[in-house]
Symmetry: C2
DNA sequence: GTCTATATAGGGATAGAC
DNA sequence: GTCTATCCCTATATAGAC
């Protein structure tokens, strides 16, 4: 692998693990087993490094978020879709770990991150509206709007919240909990009543059990 | 005012404004118009300063959070109560601004902050249960539990979320939005249907208009 | 209690040889 | 592309005079 890519990979891992502020350029160089000087040959500084990582993150999120706005998902795929979004965020979770500070220290990211939040919310709105049109949910338009805002917040801060409450929880468990709360949040709006919520949750648990088995099998 | 208190006051203001990591001991000393050495006479270091501020915060929160668990509020007071909690958090918002990092840098706070989160959630649970017993809400026990978790998250991260989305919004506006979303979140569970939610919101707006008038009057 | 002066450490960043 | 050596700056923290 090219040095540049090894730097990116190592920084991402370290940032996610320790938090961006707690990782120095020397730490990264050590991890990649190159000299600090060499690191500065590939990236003009920490700013450039962060910027490159953000490019990668934004690109992936853009693709993920656009899909269901253009072509609505099948109803049963909506829940699985939230796993994908959470996993994407998890892979770049250092951006979210200290979001406010990070955005003040790298102000170029500010506008772009705000745009990303809006995309997230637009995607939630599109999904809920679509589920409403198919008679799966019973929501007024203003309820869709308000709920989307809160779902966006859940997507943005759930990992942080769980990191504080359960510092030793595993990534997959936290993500599963996030999806669970997305569903639990919109449960009262299911046209079919509580049974629908229970059924969907049961399916999710089956999926997770299958996933866990697959992981053990590896 | 005693120097020690002026230091505490100035640090809190600076931390809230700029973020704890972006404020040095020299900045604080300048603000209080004393020498850095003098600051270290009153506080052994930044840790001691943070610890003292946390004491003050925890004490106030403890009082606020205990009240409605011991003696249930009148139904109509529940919504105003959330203003109080949000305002308390707002006054010490630097703790929440980069919570994850702050807790890793000051690990003594970890256990205590987790405890605080549990108290918050217990208070939410007590309120929702109480409203259920009075027939105002129609919630199953497991719904109370799940909703409390999300309300706790809303209380914890709403200020951050809004700081990212609307960097120039005023404190009172953000707090008002937070209370609005608390209500909007439990709206589908109102026994009296949507009209109740609309009525409560209308009352909140009246209160806010009165508040704004009061502020202008000062 | 308060000041001035200073020690110490760490992180970001560059110069120049190889 | 990569390394070594080094500089600069900032922040925390201490020593000792007043």
């Amino acid at each position: 692998m090219k040095t540049r890519d090894r730097i990116l990979q190592a920084s991402l891992a370290l940032f996610n693990e320790e938090g961006e502020t707690n990782v120095s350029t020397v730490d990264i160089a050590n991890q990649v087993d190159i000299s600090p000087g060499n690191l500065y040959y590939h990236f003009k500084g920490k700013d450039a490094l962060i910027a490159a990582l953000y490019e990668a993150f934004e690109e992936e999120m853009r693709i993920v978020l656009t899909a269901p706005v253009d072509t609505p998902l099948r109803a049963e795929d909506n829940w699985l879709y939230f796993y994908i979004v959470f996993e994407e965020i998890f892979d770049f979770r250092f951006f979210y770990r200290n979001l406010t500070d990070l955005l003040t220290r790298y102000p170029q990211l500010n506008a772009r991150f705000q745009d990303l939040l809006e995309r997230k919310q637009a995607t939630c709105t599109a999904m809920l509206s679509n589920l409403g049109q198919h008679g799966i949910l019973d929501m007024q338009e203003y309820e869709v709007e308000q709920t989307s805002t809160r779902l966006t917040m859940l997507l943005t801060y759930w990992l942080n919240f769980e990191a504080v409450r359960h510092p030793n929880a595993s990534g997959p468990d936290i993500i599963h909990g996030g999806v669970f709360h997305v569903l639990s949040h919109i449960a009262p709006y299911f046209s079919g009543g509580r049974q629908v919520f229970t059924d969907v949750i049961a399916t999710l648990y089956e999926d997770q059990i299958a996933d866990a088995a697959k992981r053990r099998g590896r």
